[in-house]
């Protein structure tokens, strides 16, 4: 179970971004998880809820986008979805396939609350 350690890394990053952008609080954290990300979305969600208060991010809501595992064939160039972890090109049956999406735990974006800035109040 390494979801907790990865969620800590995520929360560290989110807290740093909030500080960099001088926000007051984080409303939403959007992440992308694929079948080869090595984590289970339900466990990520519960780890997030459990750990967020430690980073003063209790208001943040985690939005998980579950994406398919996608690959590109090095022989024929086809882009296709890998189903059931069968790493073969669906067009030419080549085994020279490169995963292009779905093998990472990606932070897509965060939505923060900011005090009304000078431009807006001017």
């Amino acid at each position: 179970m390494h979801e907790a350690s990865l969620v800590r890394t995520l929360l560290d990053k989110v807290a740093t971004l909030l500080k960099e952008h001088q926000g007051e609080a984080v409303e939403e954290v959007c992440i992308e998880l694929g079948p080869l990300s090595g984590v289970e979305p339900l466990l990520v969600q519960s780890a997030f809820e459990m750990l967020a208060p430690q980073y003063s991010l209790s208001d943040a809501k985690l939005i998980i986008h579950e994406i398919p595992l996608e690959a590109k064939c090095r022989d024929c160039g086809a882009l296709f979805e890998i189903k059931n972890f069968r790493f073969r090109c669906e067009l030419c049956e080549s085994s020279a396939v490169q995963v292009v999406r779905g093998d990472e735990f990606r932070l897509l974006n965060i939505t923060i609350r900011q005090a009304v800035d000078n431009e807006a109040s001017a």
Partner: protein
């Protein structure tokens, strides 16, 4: 108050992956080949390393970082054969870069050709963590069943070598080496496979030759690269 969405688009492990890539580059320069050995508990990682050290004798220098949740039992087994540091994680189910760096400090200045990292016995979490290795070796023992590669796809997808251990038990267990290799190849078509028995020494010479050839390729590619620049 207003809200603002900040685009990030970053793999959260990217700083750890960068640290691993830096370590790999540094060890490539020094001619040290790093092998990350992963498996379920009890598959025979330590026995494989003991057999490797015995086979090489003084011919090739090796050092070991060995990870467990508790005890220094593995280090006690390996220390008489090679410089070894035991990493204990308390409860953590996998090794990460900070632990590797700490282990390397404890190991001190080493003159070695091979650095083996024996990971925590676990076919799940270690798959997500690059430790700066040049080669990831997944060990599968005949008592675990030949259906395991398909059940743990990330581990087999991210490994370059599959070592099947405990071949002396093949007459007693329903395990087909061919089926296990075929299952692993569905996930990682390029995976290289070797069947060994650490107790009898079967396959150990072939395993050691594979490691020597892989290190030679690393050194040659480093020198080619250096010649170009």
């Amino acid at each position: 108050m207003n809200t603002k969405t900040i685009p990030v688009g970053q793999d959260i492990l990217s700083p750890a992956k960068q640290a691993a890539a830096d370590l790999r580059a540094d060890f490539t320069r020094r001619g040290i080949f790093i092998v990350n050995i992963v498996s379920s508990p009890g598959a025979g990682k330590t026995s494989l390393l003991e057999a490797t050290a015995r086979h090489w004798g003084g011919q090739h220098k090796m050092s070991v970082l060995v990870g467990d949740l508790a005890t220094d039992r593995d280090a006690q087994r390996l220390s008489p054969l090679a410089p070894t540091v035991q990493l204990t994680t308390g409860g953590a189910c996998h090794l990460e870069m900070p632990l590797i760096k700490k282990g390397l400090e404890q190991l001190g200045p080493i003159e070695t050709e091979f650095l083996f990292i024996e990971n925590i016995g676990n076919l799940v979490c270690p798959a997500s963590h690059d430790l700066g290795e040049h080669l990831r070796v997944v060990v599968l023992s005949t008592t675990e069943g030949d259906d395991k590669p398909g059940k743990y796809p990330k581990m087999f997808r991210t490994s370059q070598v599959l070592v099947i251990t405990k071949t002396d038990l093949l007459p007693y267990v329903p395990f087909s080496v061919d089926s296990a290799v075929a299952d692993a190849q569905l996930i990682q078509p390029d995976i290289q496979s070797i069947a060994v028995c650490a107790r009898s020494g079967e396959g150990i010479a072939e395993w050691c030759e594979m490691l020597e050839a892989a290190r030679d390729r690393m050194v040659a590619s480093r020198d080619d690269h250096a010649a170009v620049h």
